[in-house]
């Protein structure tokens, strides 16, 4: 197995885990507001309420657009060991993390 196909296999596995957990349905309107509030207020402790970064990196569309989407979802859901980024899985489903990544990539609503 070449290095490339190993990477591809890992990539498939990670997308499979995320895709298998829940179909990508949008949270309802009330939950969407909760999630946006969570990002602005609580993720904002480190990333800034306007998401321009702080102790954590900026979460604006331009700063995220070159990063693989699955990696962003996994970072929110599982956290990033060795950095201050904690896992948020006790507060949202993977589908909701996916929805949030979509919102961040398009510019988070107010």
């Amino acid at each position: 197995m070449s290095a490339n196909s190993v990477i591809f296999a890992v990539f498939l596995m990670s997308t499979a885990t995320i895709a298998a957990a829940q179909p990508p349905v949008s949270p309802d309107a009330a939950r969407q507001r909760e999630l946006v509030h969570l990002v602005r207020q609580d993720c904002g402790s480190c990333h800034g309420m306007t998401l321009q970064g702080g102790l954590g990196p900026a979460l604006l569309p331009n700063s995220l657009k070159d990063k693989p989407q699955e990696g962003l979802v996994a970072t929110i859901y599982f956290g990033r060991p060795g950095t201050p980024m904690p896992p948020w899985k006790q507060f949202m489903s993977e589908a909701e993390a996916e929805w949030l990544v979509q919102q961040l990539l398009n510019g988070l609503p107010q």
């Binding site: 609580d42 402790s45 480190c46 800034g48 309420m49 321009q52 702080g54 102790l55 201050p84 904690p86």
Partner: protein
């Protein structure tokens, strides 16, 4: 005729005097983080007296005061530095000094205001009178590598101590000559996340996120270098997730003991300040963010990171345990005591209120409307070392 003269004299005097004269010792400001406003408050009447807008992004903002308590210097997240006249309730000067800032401090002689920045990483010194840039110290810890700066605190002799989150060092910059600062560097440990200076100005402590422990530098004998205290306080156990970094600026020392937030543990660590050894730990209801002593040191109030930020625990330092568990409001972000500690003001971000409590009986004695309030800063800070 005599009567008319006295009436005219009274009129003239009234016109000259303008607003009645008053001191600033019982004033303060509340950051309204969502909309770039500050509300000015009076802790005697427990009422707001003015509201000022146009301060930019205040989502992580803090304030320090001129030595007479007349002017507040507000540091905004977007690098804005705004000087506010507390008596005339207006902005007297505002500059954008960096791309992304985290706070600041004022020198012992009150002449230099220093901002600490994430982007570009480093500190900048300004003339407190004019906000003219005097000098800067880029936090370049390795060639081409700049660190976010945390924990900036003033110390004696117009020196400022701070820590480098990415560089893992404590730096001390001497601004005796404000245009030519001299900086000393000390290795500290992995990922210092905030710092403080003890009330006597002697020790600078930097909390470490990347390891269990706190780095300490004796500013009276900096040549001895930084050493670790509270090493391995987690005892190798897996850390709980930290959903908000603790703040050390609220520094608590009471009865010869310091009370510090643990990282990744729902505990307050108790340290003997004579030996700097851990002498106890007190379980609390979440990841502590601020651990603040009432000015007399009898009580220590603790607020918490998300998702436990509706709670406040009060430790009685004589009993060595939590004696009051409160749920005062949604999103309790900050606490500030009145100068002698009979009241504490709490910001309840998601209730859009500042809540005022009597610290003797834990009764709510007032509240003030504010939009997404965060930091509360009273003018008493003007006279404290390390602010």
């Amino acid at each position: 005729m005599h009567r008319i003269l006295s009436f005219l004299l009274a009129l003239v005097l009234a016109a000259c005097a303008g607003a009645p004269q008053r001191g600033t010792g019982d004033l303060g400001l509340v950051i309204e983080r969502a909309n770039g406003h500050v509300t000015l408050v009076d802790t005697t009447s427990r009422q707001p007296y003015a509201r000022i807008g146009g301060l930019g992004d205040l989502s992580h903002a803090s304030a320090v005061y001129s030595r007479d308590g007349r002017y507040a210097f507000v540091f905004g997240r977007d690098g804005g530095l705004t000087k506010i006249d507390m008596l005339e309730a207006k902005v007297v000067k505002r500059v954008i000094q960096s791309g992304n800032a985290i706070g600041g401090s004022i020198s012992q002689d009150g002449r230099i205001v220093v901002a600490q920045n994430y982007t570009p990483g480093g500190i900048k010194a300004f003339d407190a009178e004019t906000l003219e840039l005097l000098s800067e110290v880029p936090a370049e810890f390795a060639p081409g590598q700049f660190s976010k700066v945390v924990g900036l605190a003033d110390s004696s002799g117009n020196r400022f101590a701070y820590a480098l989150f990415d560089g893992g060092e404590i730096w001390v910059s001497d601004f005796s000559d404000p245009r030519r600062p001299v900086t000393q560097r000390f290795p500290a440990g992995r990922q210092p996340y905030d710092g403080l200076v003890t009330p006597d100005g002697r020790y600078f402590l930097a909390g470490l996120f990347g390891e269990d422990g706190v780095a300490m530098l004796d500013l009276w004998q900096p040549e001895k270098g930084a050493r670790k205290i509270l090493e391995n306080y987690g005892r190798g156990q897996e850390k709980l997730p930290v959903f908000k970094m603790p703040h050390l600026r609220g520094w608590s020392v009471a009865q010869g003991k310091a009370y510090l937030p643990a990282i990744g543990r729902h505990e307050v660590l108790v340290v003997d300040v004579a030996t700097w050894k851990e002498v106890g730990r007190i379980p609390v209801r979440g990841q502590p963010v601020f651990v603040m002593a009432r000015p007399d040191g009898r009580q220590v109030w603790v607020n918490f990171a998300f998702p436990d930020n509706a709670n406040v625990d009060v430790i009685d330092t004589l009993a060595g345990q939590v004696v009051q568990r409160m749920t005062p409001g949604k999103g309790i972000l900050h606490m500030e005591f009145t100068p002698r500690g009979e009241q504490v003001w709490l910001s309840a971000r998601d209730d859009h209120k500042v809540l005022i409590y009597d610290t003797a009986n834990f009764q709510r004695i007032g509240e003030i409307a504010a939009e997404s309030p965060s930091g509360i800063f009273f003018t008493t800070r003007a006279a404290r070392i390390g602010f």
